[in-house]
């Protein structure tokens, strides 16, 4: 069954149209990757799905409901979660306050369920339990990334949009983050992952959607992707495609 579907969505800012009729199909429980070069429209795609940038035409369906005209807050209430670009944890709030805010709509629906949900999130991210009274802004980049993911999970979303999670992280922190996202994947939550770092993204996603100047030019399960396709559609050259190809090989071996 499809969790999220974009049908010929166009969007942009002012006189500039960035998305020129995007189609996207995200099945229940899968991680769909959206890859592309700078300016391809990856972040605008995420913002349009989130409801921050309005779609000019086309349709966005979430769990069988047309959400094209819904505002961002209503989409969160429906079960959409976010790990925004740059992680964007609330630096002046503690870990626990960040999580409480993450469960804003859950607590409004049913406050009594929150302690159990919080406990399960702490079980998945023990470091956050240890640091629950610490201000988020004083934690390391990797810990903030964990908090951003946990903050999205604590609202029990059916879909999480993860925007450029590896940006600005060291290779070691990227490894930690991969494990964090793997935990989310194993929990069965559907995810859309936008990544500039194709190798990082390919190590996680089930399906890759390759974006070029606001259009999805190629969609395929990761198992069916090869270096040539990446080099052709992402325009990253064979050397880089080779690097991402090793990520592909690693995935195919799993």
């Amino acid at each position: 069954m499809t969790t999220l579907q974009l049908v010929e969505v166009t969007a942009g800012f002012g006189a500039v149209t960035v998305l020129h009729g995007i189609d996207l199909d995200v099945k229940d429980g899968e991680i769909a990757g959206v890859f592309g070069l700078n300016g391809a429209g990856k972040s605008v795609t995420m913002k349009t799905i989130a409801g921050i940038v309005p779609a000019r035409s086309g349709q966005i369906w979430f769990d069988g409901v047309d959400i094209t005209r819904l505002d961002a807050e209503s989409r969160v209430e429906m079960g959409m979660g976010h790990v925004p670009q740059g992680r964007q944890v609330f630096a002046n709030l503690t870990v626990e306050e960040n999580l409480r805010l993450g469960a804003y709509t859950l607590r409004r629906r049913d406050k009594s369920r929150y302690p159990a949900v919080l406990d399960s999130v702490y079980d998945r991210f023990p470091v956050l339990r240890e640091r629950r009274t610490q201000k988020a802004g004083t934690m390391s980049g990797g810990q903030q990334a964990s908090l951003a993911v946990a903050r999205a999970l604590v609202n029990e979303p059916r879909l999480i949009l993860v925007d450029e999670p590896s940006a600005g992280l060291s290779p070691k922190m990227q490894g930690d983050l991969r494990e964090v996202l793997q935990v989310v994947k194993d929990s069965g939550v559907t995810m859309v992952l936008v990544e500039q770092n194709v190798a990082f993204g390919l190590s996680l996603v089930d399906t890759a959607n390759l974006l070029q100047t606001g259009v999805v030019v190629h969609t395929a399960p990761v198992a069916e992707l090869d270096e040539d396709t990446l080099a052709t559609h992402l325009g990253i050259g064979r050397v880089l495609a080779g690097a991402t190809g090793s990520a592909l090989t690693a995935r195919k071996k799993r």
Binding site: H82, A91, L93, R151
Partner: protein, 299 residues
Amino acid sequence: MLQVLAIGLISAGIYALFAVGIVLVYRGTKVLTFAGGEVGTAALYVAAFLVTDHGMPWVVGALAAVLIAAAAGLAFEAGLVRWSREADPVVTSILTVALSATIFATEFNLHGNNPTTLETPVRIGSGLDVDGVIVSPIQIAAIVVAALLGFGLQSFLRRTDFGLAILAAADDAPATLLVGVRVSRIRLVLWASSFGLAAVAALLVEPTVGFITPGYASTLYLGGLAAAVIGGLDSLPGAVVGATVLGLAQAFADKYFKGLGLSGLSYVVTLTLLLVVLLVRSYAPEIRKRLAAPVEVTA
């Protein structure tokens, strides 16, 4: 000494009430609002219209004044602030100056410079005798309400989801939106609360002066602004502490420097305090760094 303390605390209560409203908006929007004084004055005119001109009970007039001020806050946010959201908060601050000037001009056109009176249930001159200074119940109420608001609101911000959402929206509005918080609603509540608080402050202050003229509360509001800055601008208890420091400093200066015959002594005290606090705050990190640095010993 007790006398000076009593006078200082009366002023502190007034400044704190205005300062709390200023900090509340600043914490939620990073906008420094200059309109509270005139909003408070306008609220008093509304109360006077209902109570003095139409014989309604003071409670009804006061309630109407607070509600109308809160409604003005809603209208100001929805009509002007919302449309300047993408701009620097300084732009919105300037909008509040424009609002203040507009309200002042309207008051002046309607009432001229003639003092208007508002019949209040409690008059100055009766109450607690503190070393010769009569502290009226309404002045005590101002101090108590200010302290309750300063410390109570701080607790509200940390302990409730809505309060946390206010803090988060000030930190990062787009990220707050993405956790499902209706940030626009928060901003409406903040502006309505701030303007409502300005009305409450003006109503509690009015009996001390006894009459209303255009711009009446704006002078006191400047004290509130200074108190908010002294308290750190983003701390509600800090606003109350700042107001107390300012109120007491003015009272002590008045007692001990009155003989010098300086006019506008309270302004001198306010500006000196502001200058000292801002200087200390800007140099504090450097001083701390130097104190923490190991001392080099040369042979």
